[in-house]
């Protein structure tokens, strides 16, 4: 029995490798995606384009504007000539922020009265607007602190100094790349299981396998093991690019990441085979795979945190293997996550793998009769 399964595994691997088109699909897109998305998926806001309507004639306001222009995050500061220019500037989405400095700004400050500056932000890009607002707050706070020191005034409200662990400069790529490891591995795992079985079924070669002396469980193993080996190989390639080309720090234990990857792949392959055991055509398989794949990415916490989701939705994320793998990947990459924490996220994936694989085996067996 072991020999028969081994033959099937070798046959599957050869079938994938000999077809130049499937070889292409396995290697080129994941690498290109990894590199493009690693640089594209950043919620950081740099190169801010903003405008200023300065109605004040004093030096204080000029100093404040110069601070904005000098900020490393700001690409350009355009001067507006009147209030009528504010709306077009924001409407056209040319500027994400318009700063309005009132005409008695310098006078108020000189007299020791508090002054206000309005920041109008483009809420169509709400997240970016919120981040730009944070930058503006910091620039104004620094302006106040420097002025106070200069004029020997009582200190204004003190500024908190934050420190980010694991990723001191909050580099988005460091968090994105471990997440992409999960995404691309899942994409691949679904392709080599759900779609390939469906294709064989359409071509009739799957029926030939079913009438061969192989038991359904053996066929299932024969399909799952090659997919697993391909997945591990692919993930290793991604890992190598992540560490050596994209220079994401890897501070944890490699063995723990591979343990996580193995269980994750088993779960993904289980879902893929489960879908393939339900469908009859490739088209249905693609749709089925997609219906699983798209929500699995979005609900995994990779793009937005799970805690932000409504309470009724959070339990649903518990059936998403990627949710757990994202925690492991980020943890092992950046935080040197200890084995006990990894195990906490490992067992739910193992449960998903066991349930989906046995369901697939049962369905394959039932189809036979």
């Amino acid at each position: 029995m072991a020999r028969r399964i081994l033959f099937l595994i070798v046959k599957e691997l050869l079938a994938v490798w000999r077809d130049p088109r499937s070889r292409m699909i396995l290697i080129v897109p994941p690498v290109v995606q990894l590199i493009v998305f690693a640089f594209a998926m950043t919620q950081e806001v740099t190169s801010v384009r903003m405008a200023v309507l300065n109605q004040d004639l004093g030096t204080e306001s000029r100093d404040l504007v110069a601070r904005f222009a000098g900020s490393p995050y700001v690409a350009s500061v355009r001067a507006l000539r009147g209030t009528q220019e504010i709306r077009p500037a924001l409407d056209s989405a040319d500027d994400i922020m318009v700063l309005v400095i009132p005409q008695d700004f310098s006078r108020d400050l000189a007299a020791g009265r508090p002054a206000t500056v309005q920041a109008l932000l483009d809420g169509r890009r709400s997240n970016a607007a919120q981040i730009v607002e944070g930058y503006a707050e910091r620039i104004v706070a620094q302006f106040n602190a420097d002025r106070a020191a200069e004029h020997d005034l009582p200190h204004p409200a003190s500024v908190l100094v934050g420190r980010a662990w694991f990723n001191p400069n909050l580099t988005a790529r460091w968090a994105t790349v471990p997440g992409l490891l999960g995404t691309l591995t899942m994409l691949l795992g679904m392709v080599v299981t759900a779609l390939s079985v469906a294709r064989e079924r359409e071509l009739g070669t799957f029926e030939q396998l079913l009438v061969s002396p192989l038991a359904p469980v053996e066929i299932l193993i024969g399909k799952a093991v090659p997919a697993f080996l391909i997945g591990i190989g692919e993930a290793s390639l991604i890992l190598a690019i992540a560490v050596f080309v994209l220079e994401v720090p890897f501070v944890g234990a490699l063995g723990l990441l591979y343990a996580g990857m193995a269980v994750y792949l088993a779960a993904v392959i289980g879902v893929g085979l489960f879908i393939s055991s339900l469908v009859a055509t490739q088209q249905q398989a693609i749709l089925g795979a997609f219906t699983f794949f798209a929500p699995a990415i979005l609900l995994s916490g990779f793009i937005t945190p799970v805690e932000n989701m409504p309470d009724w939705l959070q339990p649903i994320t518990l059936v998403d293997p990627m949710r757990f793998f994202t925690v492991i990947a980020r943890g092992v990459f950046l935080k040197a996550m200890p084995a006990s924490e990894v195990a906490q996220n490992l067992w739910p994936m193992a449960v998903i793998a066991v349930v989906t694989l046995s369901a697939a085996a049962w369905l394959f067996g039932r189809r036979l009769r």
Partner: protein, 358 residues
């Protein structure tokens, strides 16, 4: 047309899948921080320290736990079960209201940079409010200086659904447009029915109109369904006009349909066509359209790449139509870009189909 109605998978792609995605994404993709698990370390519970720690409890953004020793929650930061630690040192009371760098330390989890940045900003705001209250209570004069008064136009409450859903509608349309045509047409090539059509005396233009028209109708219906759901279920405001929306959507849908036709004609195989639709159509629509990630922050080569993505023009158009209104300065250039891309893709699809048939 009958073929579309009879094929259950067209209904699935055109009707159920977009609704499912819109619901899941609409609820699931949220950038609004809520109940962020935090740990507040109060080394010595002086009245001031306790009052500041308590202010975390009153905030709807945080769900804070109070401990005495910071070592007790450092492990949780590694595990990811808390997003930040605020350390209130023993020296807190004496120097809390004086200026300079605050005596507090805020440690955040950098493995989620966006959340980490927002948590820092929110703690900063909380701190500033607390200080203002303290000063008001002590009747001490407010420190003179500049106050920034932010006002968010178009989306004053910072509701992330309001700006994400228009983007999601675009992602949905990409999916429907490319996947539908790519799959269906590739299946026809696989089964040889495309060649059968060729043998009838139908011109290439008629053939393409015949192939695309039903999916165009289906796509526009899915669009109406998505927009309706966004407005009615999620309560996203719609401030533009529906005529402009229909025009921009039609241009975008044509881009997607032509693109789907193009890849399926080149691939002639459902497996490759679906992969291409996913890799070249769907994922860039999520990643490179500016709907979640700022295009201006991307490196130059990737920024250039976004210019050939139709979704890059569609997402800002939708965001403007929903939240701002009919702003010609946004809609005209983006609409023209979409029309140009649609023309190029349709011409390319016609050419490739003719080459294949000859």
């Amino acid at each position: 047309m009958l073929q579309v109605v009879r094929d259950p998978s067209s209904i699935l792609i055109g009707g159920i899948l977009p609704l499912l995605l819109l619901f899941l994404f609409g609820f699931g993709v949220s950038l609004d921080l809520r109940n962020v698990a935090m740990c507040v370390v109060v080394e010595v519970p002086t009245p001031e320290a306790s009052s500041f720690a308590a202010s975390f409890g009153h905030s709807r953004f945080f769900a804070a736990r109070e401990v005495r020793d910071r070592r007790r929650c450092e492990q949780d930061l590694v595990a990811g079960s808390i997003k930040g630690i605020v350390v209130v040192p023993a020296t807190f009371a004496a120097d809390s209201v004086r200026g300079g760098p605050a005596p507090l330390q805020v440690l955040v989890d950098g493995s989620e940079p966006n959340t980490a940045g927002l948590v820092q900003d929110y703690v900063q705001n909380l701190w500033r409010n607390w200080l203002a209250q303290q000063q008001a209570a002590n009747a001490s004069a407010p420190a003179p200086g500049v106050t920034l008064v932010p006002r968010i136009w178009f989306n004053p409450a910072h509701v992330s659904t309001d700006f994400l859903l228009p983007g999601l509608v675009a992602v949905n349309m990409t999916l429907i447009g490319t996947l539908l045509t790519a799959l269906v047409v590739a299946r026809e090539w696989e089964r040889g029915t495309m060649e059968a059509l060729m043998s009838t005396p139908i011109g290439i233009v008629e053939l393409m109109i015949g192939k695309l028209a039903p999916y165009f109708v289906l796509g526009m219906m899915a669009m109406a369904l998505s927009v309706g759901t966004a407005i009615v279920v999620f309560g996203v405001p719609f401030r533009g006009s529906f005529a402009v929306l229909a025009a921009v959507s039609a241009a975008f849908l044509l881009c997607m349909l032509a693109f789907g036709l193009l890849i399926s004609t080149i691939a002639r195989n459902q497996f490759v066509a679906s992969q291409a639709a996913l890799i070249v159509g769907f994922l860039p629509a999520v990643m490179l359209s500016g709907f979640l990630f700022e295009i201006a922050s991307m490196p130059l080569p990737i920024r250039l790449l976004t210019y050939i993505m139709p979704a890059r023009y569609f997402v800002p158009s939708l965001q403007t139509l929903f939240l701002a209104g009919d702003v010609a300065a946004v809609l005209v250039p983006n609409g023209l870009a979409l029309a140009a891309i649609a023309t190029i893709l349709l011409a390319a699809a016609a050419r490739v189909t003719r080459l294949r048939l000859d």
